[in-house]
Symmetry: C2
Subunit: 345 residues, 2 copies
Amino acid sequence: MRILKFALLSVAVASVSAVASDTDLLNKAKNYFKPLPKEIPAPKDNPTTAEKVELGKKLYYDPRLSLSGVISCNTCHNLATFGVDNVPTALGHEFKTGGRNSPTVLNAGFHIAQFWDGRAKTLEDQAKGPILAHVEMAMPNPEFVVLKLKTIPGYVKEFKKVFGGNDPITYDNVAKAIAAFERTLVTPSRFDKFLKGDTNALTKKEKEGLRLFIDKGCASCHNGVAVGGEMFAKFGIVKPYPTPDMGKYKVTKKEEDKYVFKVPSLRNIAMTYPYFHDGSVWDLKEAVRIMGETQLGIKLSHDEIDKIVAFLKSLTGEIPESARTVPVLPASSKDTPKPKLKIHD
Amino acid sequence: MRILKFALLSVAVASVSAVASDTDLLNKAKNYFKPLPKEIPAPKDNPTTAEKVELGKKLYYDPRLSLSGVISCNTCHNLATFGVDNVPTALGHEFKTGGRNSPTVLNAGFHIAQFWDGRAKTLEDQAKGPILAHVEMAMPNPEFVVLKLKTIPGYVKEFKKVFGGNDPITYDNVAKAIAAFERTLVTPSRFDKFLKGDTNALTKKEKEGLRLFIDKGCASCHNGVAVGGEMFAKFGIVKPYPTPDMGKYKVTKKEEDKYVFKVPSLRNIAMTYPYFHDGSVWDLKEAVRIMGETQLGIKLSHDEIDKIVAFLKSLTGEIPESARTVPVLPASSKDTPKPKLKIHD
């Protein structure tokens, strides 16, 4: 009887201390992370409206925004695969590959800037890039995009409704609509439940992983609402990472920007392989191991990596079903420029 | 007063005769066409179940069924664009083009056979083709498809649930699941309402077009539940159509199959441009004009073409939203073969 009492007491103490430890972890985590809001805040000059989001979704899924007529934003940022293409570097026009791994569009509007090197400040700016990139959608210039959209009666009507004015179809408005759609791509996961106070939303192992993620220093860069995306960092702070890609330096030509990239968001990271700017690593455990070595100068044990990866998997969230409902695209007219396979022919 | 009475009487007579004429047209139409059922009937060896449809949808949207990892069934049979790619001929692996225009998957299970030359008897047979075609999804062989799917834990579980047995992931079962999904791709339109007795479901012009469509002879080939797809015919019965493509002859080597193609379904035809097996014609009016000339030996007037096209537009239907909800694809594992850009490298 005394033994039983003691045993029960032990369980109670252990459970009290587990609760205390969970609360401690939660408070610690709150210093680094924030739960996702319902929608990404919009800039003043591009308020999110239901109609704009719907138009943006159409443009996002529309392959006519490419020269070939078969590549859409959704080709490389596929919403069936967590907003990425799951290939090392983007495959675009003429089956050419881009230089970097396609980052996910999910939660991207929380980032400090867009692209791996942050060369676009906003989602609006970002949206204008791939449409014109020769190895991506390969449209020759913004004017051609506008001209093409103007030949599609359904778009003429919808742009008018969304943007008003005499000339609603502009390249800026194309980007605004796409960005508005992308601001709905928020993917809450069990980690958000945890951050909101439900300490049972994560398993014991995941919580151990979270604690390691904070204590080992991962959270010094991967933090905030998107668990990353809020700062830039050199890839190879402690130990160089072998890459010919100079990162932000390409844009700024500043010595201190050599090998500097945007710290990627780790939300949905388990689904957005392969990893790093060059998509060179397919295994999340290996990616975590490399990060420890190059960024923190530590050798994480197998057990630590295992736990951190368990935590990272808890960041896999739900893509809103409205975003995953493929729109019915408006028909072309006989004036709509025909698809072209070669940029110069 | 007498004049007014007469006028009223005239209107009444005209309206009675319009109703009589509508009923006459409806009865005539019923000799040729049938309204779409909710779902396409399934063969005995592949009954449609909700779980199989869901698995089939995943496979349909999954780019991992291609060698490059970026081309899915939905790339060329895009459900945002009525199950086609809206380009002359399919664009596939290495940006190579196929020889023929991608037919829509919508309502395809009603057809007598699959492909333009009918070389596949069933949807199941058809599904096995493009995955292996070098200019489409370019998988080297069925074994590799099976091997790849077996490395994806989510699929292992789902195939087991759907097909049971010791070895549920087979190329046959891949095709069965995709076919089951495709049997849900039924697109009722206003024409079905008309066929069910609501003669106001079509406008006056559309009804005039329908009457012409029957009277001029279009309906002798384009008939049945899918308004086509139920027979084969020579392209150029009366006047040759300039094409190097020998159609069914390529498969059978029979003299009588030269230039013979499956009569395409005209459901959603206004949205599935460009037209014909070679995708050479973008304008539906032009396509109708050519059909009159080559198949019927008649010169349709502008007004007749206009009305027939108005009728054809009434065949644009609704794609079920369930089919348009992009699935969340199961994650690859570290054993999953990596995407390859070149067939031989």
